[in-house]
């Protein structure tokens, strides 16, 4: 045994003290850059709040001035704005509802692993990775009145001259369809992970104890999946209520104001009518809605996250 080396190492040097302040400041130092970004977001946010309380139209710079809740009051007296609220809600409920149902159904179909389901789960990733704006344009090509392949298909079914997004009657249907194409996989993928992450043993126990399958589905499986369904649903709801890319690149809110959802309406107010004050007020209303939703969401999401980390 090399006792000489041991002896030299055991000759203890004077112990270095730590810098208690440095240790305490470390987390702050590490997160400082991200913190600055955080502040960087809060500044324009504060400005937006300010704009929404101003009479502020780029075309009439001289009339700019603080008007308290003037923008909000005029908004809520305006039928157009109510139209926006109704359309946004309709869009949200339709997309989230249909996508949840379809997504859960597909997830259940893909639950059992096999070659086919594995291939399909990869296929499902593809639409999700396409930029929503691009997806919208793809569908625009397919629904073109002259050469769109989908227009041709529906004409085979007897719907000649089906106008898709360019007719007020079918515009909503069309954008919801595109939204479903892009985002159903999102729900499916999350629920599938949830399903596959469920412990197998409780289901085996139920099988062993002869528990009826409807009981297993409604009283055991669905409740166990509920946090995943809620998280996926809220995630989508938060996106859907502020949908812009798909609708704007498909119809710019038209035809007429059929698809004037919140952000498209605000965009139009800001960049067509140059009314920054009014646009900001619309966006503040939307922000309030998403803020409430995101609080519900974050609670749910945290619980789920904790569970994933805890490995239960």
């Amino acid at each position: 045994m090399s006792t000489s080396g041991a002896a030299s190492m055991n000759a203890r040097p004077v112990v270095r003290r730590r810098h208690p302040h440095l240790a305490r400041a470390l987390p702050y130092l590490l997160s400082m850059p991200a913190l600055l970004t955080c502040i960087g977001i809060l500044v324009p946010f504060a400005m937006a709040v300010w704009y929404s309380l101003e009479r502020y139209n780029l075309a009439f710079p001289s009339t700019r001035g603080f008007i308290w809740f003037g923008n909000y009051i005029s908004l809520f007296k305006d039928a157009d704005f109510w139209n926006t609220i109704i359309i946004s809600m309709a869009y949200t409920v339709l997309t989230v509802g249909l996508e949840l149902l379809l997504g859960l159904g597909i997830a259940l179909l893909l639950w059992r692993r096999s070659l086919v389901t594995n291939v399909l789960s990869v296929v499902l990733i593809l639409p999700l990775m396409v930029a929503p704006a691009i997806a919208s344009m793809m569908w625009k090509l397919m629904t073109n009145a002259n050469f769109g392949i989908l227009s041709y298909f529906v004409s085979l079914l007897g719907f000649h001259d089906f106008k898709w997004a360019s007719a007020p009657q079918s515009a909503m249907f069309t954008v919801v369809l595109v939204d479903m194409w892009v985002y159903t996989p999102f729900i499916t993928i999350l629920l599938l992970a949830g399903l596959r992450g469920l412990p197998r043993q409780p289901f085996e126990a139920a099988e062993l104890d002869g528990v009826p399958s409807s009981f297993v589905f409604f009283r055991i499986m669905l409740p166990m999946l509920l946090p995943y369904i809620l998280t996926a649903g809220l995630f989508r709801m938060l996106d859907s209520i502020q949908q812009f890319d798909i609708i704007y690149s498909m119809t710019q809110g038209g035809p007429g104001d059929t698809l004037m959802v919140f952000q498209v309406q605000a965009y139009t107010q800001a960049f067509i009518f140059t009314n920054i004050g009014r646009a900001s007020a619309i966006l503040m209303v939307l922000w309030l809605i998403t803020y409430v939703l995101s609080n519900v969401f974050v609670k749910n999401w945290l619980r789920l996250r904790e569970r994933a980390r805890g490995g239960v």
């Binding site: 090399s2 041991a6 190492m9 055991n10 112990v15 270095r16 208690p20 240790a23």
Partner: protein, 360 residues
Amino acid sequence: MAFLEISGLNKSFKDHKVIHDLSIDLEKGEFLAVFGPSGCGKTVFLRLIAGMMPADSGDIVIDGQSVIDANPEDRDIGMAFQNYALYPHMTAFNNIASPLRSRHVTAAEVTARVNETARMLRIDHVLDHLPKALSQGQKQRTALARSLVGRPSVVLLDDPLRNVDAKIRYEMRFELPRVLRRYESTVIYVTQDYKEAMALGDRVAVLVDGAFSQAAAPREIYDMPSTMRIARLFGDPPINLLPVHPITGAAGTEMTVAGGTVRLPADRAALSGRECMFGIRSENVVVSLQPTDGIPMTLDAITPVNNRLVMLLGGNEGTELFASCPQGGPMDRLRGRHNAWITLDLAHAHFFDGSNGARI
């Protein structure tokens, strides 16, 4: 002056006191086994010594120098973890070499010392493996080697035998003292297994509610537990504890146990009139299947444990009592319920205060 002095250590999280005025001294080369039930604060205790979290107050002095303000890397402490905490991206060799690499030891000496330690722990043939290619036992030995190779002043062993199977556990139980003695290490060994604590420790310190409620040689803790709680922690099956109320009458001092009357020895007369807990270990409860003048009970089940027959007896009013006797007698082949009569060996009885659980 002791080699390692821990004095008045405190640590709270919010309002919860995890370590509460904890003090203990260790001599150089001493092996202290710290035993505590889960949730007793052992993780925090180890982290305070290792320097991973600051203590609220108190001091830790190693070989005359306070290390309470030092960073972990400056404390000269080696530690082996319950889950091994091997670096998954480094080979066993590099894992073990890590403490040497930080100390500017020459490459040749690193190799020499890693090999020497590995040979001693019989893992020299797997030094080029990544941790994931090691068996549980090898991982555990690698972790141990890493904690010893730098010959630190103090070695902390955090339940290192918890996750290995029974065979390796016994192997290590007999081998560990040999290795540690060779390295002349001062050791704090934390475990949740009272047998391991008693087997390995020169002294056993019982960590309850963030402080050492008793620190003594294994024999003393087992035979003279200072509180009821400690008594219950040592022994398998656990010690029988029954509330009693001894009364002195014409026939001497008597108490009621499981519906029967038991006369106490004369030197216990002072217990008369006191509400207390009567503790008796299973090996001091004698069972007979033939009627005796003992207390009648039913023998509910016999579970052989480590070459002894452990018997669960049921009495009236739901009293349950453990008795045990060496295997190899007539009761070896019994099954199911039987009538039984028990006698208590009061020479080995313990009495604890009914309200605070202190030994009487």
